[in-house]
Amino acid sequence: MTGDRTNMSEPDQLAQRFVDQELSAEERLQLLARLGHDEPLRTALLSLEHLAFDSARLPRPAVPAGFVGDVLRRTALASTEASGGHQARMNPFLKPRVLHWNLASAMALAAAAVLVVAVAMTGQAARFANDTSAIVSAPALTPDSPAMLVRLIIMQPDAKAVAVAGDFNGWNPTRTPLERLSGDAWAVTIPLRPGRYEYMFVVDGDRWVADPFATERRDDGFGSENAVLDVRPMVTPL
């Protein structure tokens, strides 16, 4: 392998082999002994280790709700096309069944911050939702279901304005603007009672942007997908 790295500087080569865990015990000792006085080696090693660490922690994109069902429907269709329909009547794969698929909403749960506020909500029906019956757009406010503060953030470097529209604001594209943070990020904090809400970001007033990192999404019936936010009640210790 070392022959493939002949163009590397010696510190780079050592650092690369360290990250790939290719160094012998003796080489590791020699490397560690050099780190105290070899600035280029230390810098190269630190950068590579940061990169490997950060890359391994990159969030995985959410698998959309219905993904498994969609795949099974496509396999059924492919089989039907391949067999001219006869096999479709025989193959148990092709029986119309619903396989429930719903990713654990760990990220969405984490998105619900634990600050309790008293706030009156005016929930509206989801204009964009394909089937609003499954979405609890505004559960009744009771002492057992206090509102939670949920902070939404999106990176939109070129936007002049960003808002969020969803079940919680009647899908009004101007009612809940995000504030520009330093850099490319926009954010807003909104009070939501426990429940499931669909939403999309609205960029510059007319561009509807799905949240690609949402843990769950639903078809909006307009060729795009709404993110689904699952706000869970705060668990108080007994």
Binding site: M1, D4, M8, D20, V71, P157, A210
Partner: protein, 193 residues
């Protein structure tokens, strides 16, 4: 992958080969996050990535009878997904490859999970976004090697099996990818780490 998972996979694949629909559905559910992850990193666009992930599973289903158990099912899926992504990237005109298109649906977004440390969380979101953009700006050959090595956490032997490339060549591609990424992310040093 644990031996238990591999054994369970093999049992599910055999059941699926016999026509067990639920068994194949279980395999899809189990590996959808991993396959969608690689198609997203390779293609950038969310909708393209989801289409390609679905196509991967459909192709796997159609070829299921030919699966010989000489590799893990997950490795086999990765190979199908990577081949499909490579074909897709080759079909794209250069001006449609979203290498640095921050305004498309490839733009990352996330919610801040903890209001007690909003600044720290914001930095993590921005770092993830910058890294994601930098990975997607890599040349495809370097990108696929880096994604499998450092985002999916595979070793060089697994990568060699998936990509059909000698492990030493893959090491060189990963090295070049890491060098390019370190350069493009150098401005973040100290700011977010």
């Amino acid at each position: 992958m644990s031996p238990e998972t591999a054994s369970d996979d093999a049992a599910l694949v055999r059941a699926a080969q016999r026509g067990d629909r639920d068994a194949f559905g279980t395999l899809v559910a189990r590996y959808a996050p991993a396959i969608l992850s690689v198609t997203s990193r390779m293609l950038g666009s969310t909708s393209d990535a989801e289409d390609m992930a679905q196509e991967t599973f459909v192709a796997a289903y159609q070829a299921l009878e030919r699966f010989q158990f000489d590799a893990s099912f997950k490795t086999w899926l990765y190979r199908i997904a990577m081949n499909k992504c490579t074909d897709s990237l080759r079909r794209r005109r250069p001006d449609t490859v979203p290498f640095e298109d921050g305004g498309s649906d490839s733009a990352a977004a996330a919610t801040i999970p903890d209001l007690e440390t909003p600044h720290w969380e914001y930095e993590q979101v921005e770092l993830a976004w910058q890294l994601d953009q930098a990975v997607q700006a890599l040349p495809p050959l370097y990108r696929e090697s880096f994604v499998l090595k450092h985002i999916e956490g595979l070793d060089y032997d697994e990568m060699s099996h998936i990509l059909g490339v000698h492990r030493d060549t893959l090491k060189m591609r990963v090295y070049k990818a890491r060098t390019l990424l370190c350069r493009s992310l150098a401005h973040l040093e100290g700011a977010h780490r």
